[in-house]
């Protein structure tokens, strides 16, 4: 206890990291379920259905399967780099999330004032870019160290693609930075408070819509997702850079990809969609019941599903989920919890929306050819994001020039 009293910041940070890791690992696992389910429904299939009610235990089954598969290392590979690559990919992907604020700068939990972020860094955005810019190594080194033609080609494609799209990714964000005048995530969000015409939120997506499109397109390419998933194009390259990987090392690449998707969606939420800010004005006080209401509505639907649709063991499993949703919903009604939950609720909602867009594009658009990918990145995305930057800069400078002149 003495130690806790002496180092409050250290202990608070460790607790936050533990919570973040637990939540993140669950999200990463269920993101695969979410993706498979949505793609299945878009393609008129059921998706995972047999492991648990609605396939809800499928991520667990997948995880156990990954753990118990044989971990193969190709004899001709570079052992050290081969093992390093998945660790590098996953660590870098997860580290970035320490910088993301999920709620307002100061909230009160059990009488303690705290931030809903692990590290509130002054130049948060630059740090995030610094960490993500190292993410290429995981993929490139995996491709090289496997000592296989498919892997090497996948790794090469991926590095080329990530270098190309990183330029437009960074440039598309500069417009937002110019308008906000800060690198700090908290200030980036709070600078979006207020409303146009009293009801349209002053989120940066309104003046920076082109910037948002450029950002999200290059973000999809950065994370190697469809339609830009050439590094792992299975028709040409078997599995791309992770062809030779098996067992949990493969799972680590998988998790890194999902973690990158989460990071990119979080960043888009903060920069363009007003972060944890509610889209409704403060005077609409009824809206603070929305988190509780949506969870309770989910519980009611699940209860109907449990008794009308499910049979046998699936009914018990779904009943547990129903109870969980109901308890969480009631918890959100507590006066101590209600103000704290508002920020994370809206943040998660927007992030989930963007993740849905990710999956939606994957199931809708066909993969690009390699030369199309390169010309799209360099000849369309880069000029457009540059133009967006120039117009934004002029927009800021022009009134100043008029006033002075």
């Amino acid at each position: 206890m003495e130690f806790i009293a002496q180092h409050p910041v250290l202990v608070a940070s460790l607790v936050k990291i533990a919570i973040l890791m637990a939540v993140l690992m669950t999200i990463l696992a269920y993101l695969s379920w979410f993706e498979r389910k949505i793609i299945a429904h878009i393609q008129s299939r059921w998706g995972p259905y047999y492991v648990g009610a609605h396939g809800l235990l499928q991520p667990l089954a997948d995880g156990i399967k990954f753990l118990f598969k044989e971990d193969l290392t190709p004899p001709a590979s570079d052992k050290f780099v081969y093992t390093l690559a998945p660790f590098l990919a996953l660590t870098l992907a997860i580290t970035t999330l320490a910088l993301i604020p999920f709620g307002p700068a100061t909230v009160w939990i059990f009488g303690h004032e705290t931030h809903l972020v692990v590290a509130n860094v002054d130049i948060g955005l630059l740090f995030l870019f610094a960490i993500t810019s190292l993410g290429v190594y995981g993929v490139a080194l995996a491709g090289w160290s496997s000592n296989s033609k498919y892997s090497l080609l996948g790794g090469l494609r991926s590095s080329a693609q990530m270098i190309s799209y990183e330029v437009s990714l960074t440039l598309s964000v500069v417009g937002v930075l110019l308008l906000a005048g800060t690198f700090n995530f908290n200030e980036l969000v709070t600078s979006q408070q207020g409303y146009y015409l009293h009801f349209i939120p002053r989120w940066r997506i309104v003046p920076q819509f082109i910037g948002f499109l450029c950002y999200f397109t290059s973000a999809i390419a950065e994370t190697n997702r469809a339609p830009f998933d050439l590094p792992e194009g299975e028709q040409e390259l078997v599995g791309g850079f992770h062809t030779e990987y098996s067992s949990f090392k493969f799972a680590m690449f998988f998790m890194a990809e999902y973690a990158n998707m989460v990071t990119v969606s979080c960043l888009a939420t903060i920069l363009f969609l007003g972060g944890w800010l509610s889209p409704f004005p403060d005077r609409w006080t009824a809206m603070q019941y929305l988190p509780a209401a949506s969870l309770l509505a989910l519980a009611v639907y699940l209860a109907y599903d449990t008794f009308a649709q499910m049979r046998g063991i699936a009914r018990i499993q779904l009943a547990v989920v129903t109870a969980l949703a109901a308890v969480l919903g009631l918890l959100c009604l507590l006066p101590a919890v209600m103000p704290v939950i508002q920020g994370p609720f809206w943040f998660t909602f927007k992030m989930g929306l963007l993740l849905f867009f990710y999956v939606w594009t994957r199931s809708t658009l066909p993969r690009l050819r390699y030369d199309q990918l390169m010309s799209f990145g360099w000849k369309l995305l880069l000029p457009v994001s540059l133009l967006n930057l120039v117009v934004t800069a002029l927009w800021i400078v022009f009134p100043q020039l008029v006033n002075h002149g």
Binding site: D78, V81, V121, D122, I123, L126, F127, F129, A130, I131, S133, L134, V136, Y137, A140, L141, G143, W144, S145, L152, G155, L156, S159, A160, M162, I163, E166, F183
Partner: protein
């Protein structure tokens, strides 16, 4: 022993070990990885000095962009394992002692210089955390001309490389 003091030695050792590995490693990719290690350790040292912006830019530019290109080219050319030669006699009998002498010379003069004295006295010296705003004011107002001149110089270098690469077509 304060935490920054311990961290300084941790990252300093990482940087030195990385630099030695860079020379010793025979596989080009291993050398490149060691260089990345050095750069990340240097960024951490900048961070300890309170230069957040420089630390972030060090990683973004050097580790994230330049070294990625290095690794890319090594992979593309599939560069083989380096071949070792026997040490030349000059390197062995003149180079090694001279190198060690230079090291001591540098350490000696650094310790006696104004910066060394400031570090030894433990005062914060030049480094109270420099804000990005102050840095940008220096770059884009006070030192605007040298900054732009350097940019144009780099642009000329890029164009030169392009011309040389395109000549035989």
């Amino acid at each position: 022993m304060s935490l920054p003091f311990i961290l300084f030695f941790v990252f300093a050792i990482v940087a030195v070990v990385g630099a030695i590995l860079l020379i010793v490693a025979r596989e080009p990719i291993h050398s490149a990885l060691s260089l990345i290690m050095v750069m990340v350790a240097l960024a951490a040292l900048y961070l300890l000095l309170g230069a957040e912006f420089i630390a972030a830019v060090q990683i973004i530019v050097y580790a994230g962009a330049i070294m990625v290109l290095f690794v890319f080219v090594i992979m593309l050319l599939n560069a083989g394992v380096e071949e070792r030669t026997n040490w030349s006699k000059i390197a062995k009998y003149a180079g090694l002692p001279l190198g060690i002498f230079l090291l001591f010379e540098l350490a000696h003069w650094l310790a006696r210089s104004a910066i060394g004295a400031r570090i030894a006295n433990g005062s914060e010296g030049t480094n109270g955390a420099v804000s990005t705003r102050a840095l940008s004011e220096m770059l884009f107002q006070k030192y605007l001309f040298p900054f732009e001149a350097t940019s144009i110089l780099i642009l000329i270098a890029i164009l030169g490389a392009l011309v040389l690469a395109k000549r035989d077509e």
